[in-house]
Amino acid sequence: SQTIHQWPATLVQPVGSPLSLECTVEGTSNPNLYWYRQAAGRGLQLLFYSVGIGQISSEVPQNLSASRPQDRQFILSSKKLLLSDSGFYLCAWSVYRERNTIYFGEGSWLTVV
């Protein structure tokens, strides 16, 4: 069965510091990968998705970037964090046959102070 791992689970970072959140999927190949953000009272927002290595689509302009260096690895980064980047970040995946169904990881809490 497929599993998704996301880390770190909790992160407290000062304003202006860099960010790196990592996500890996096991048990499948060639998944579509996604980064969502869940901010308090604002629901879930799709930030990035990737259909293959090196292929990244951004849904909203922001202070963040994403990379996919390997088939099952997805990284969310920032060079300089803002207070508004605080939130709960969720990595997710889907497979070609079930492109319409997205499965989520456990999430990472980011607090920018």
Binding site: N32, Y34, G43, A92, S94, N100, T101, F104, W109
Partner: protein
Amino acid sequence: AQSVTQLDSQVPVFEEAPVELRCNYSSSVSVYLFWYVQYPNQGLQLLLKYLSGSTLVKGINGFEAEFNKSQTSFHLRKPSVHISDTAEYFCAVTGIGGSQGNLIFGKGTKLSVKP
């Protein structure tokens, strides 16, 4: 474009009582519909989904939902809730043939089950 409205932000119920969490959507194209559950400090878990076929969909943990195209609704129900069902529930929609990952989520309904 699609949108989702979850009509209740919070729903308190007593244990063993029935519950209905309401979800309405709008879309100019046909849709797929989903319910996810989020326990405190955890990611989202898929409860059930409607893709096609029978409008009554059964999911995990005894939940079910009914797709009503004329009323553009996809309400979630459970005949008897447990304390362990306390969580936040999200309805989501995607247009058939839409871009990858374009799941539009409602703002969530917090279900609180009291003993």
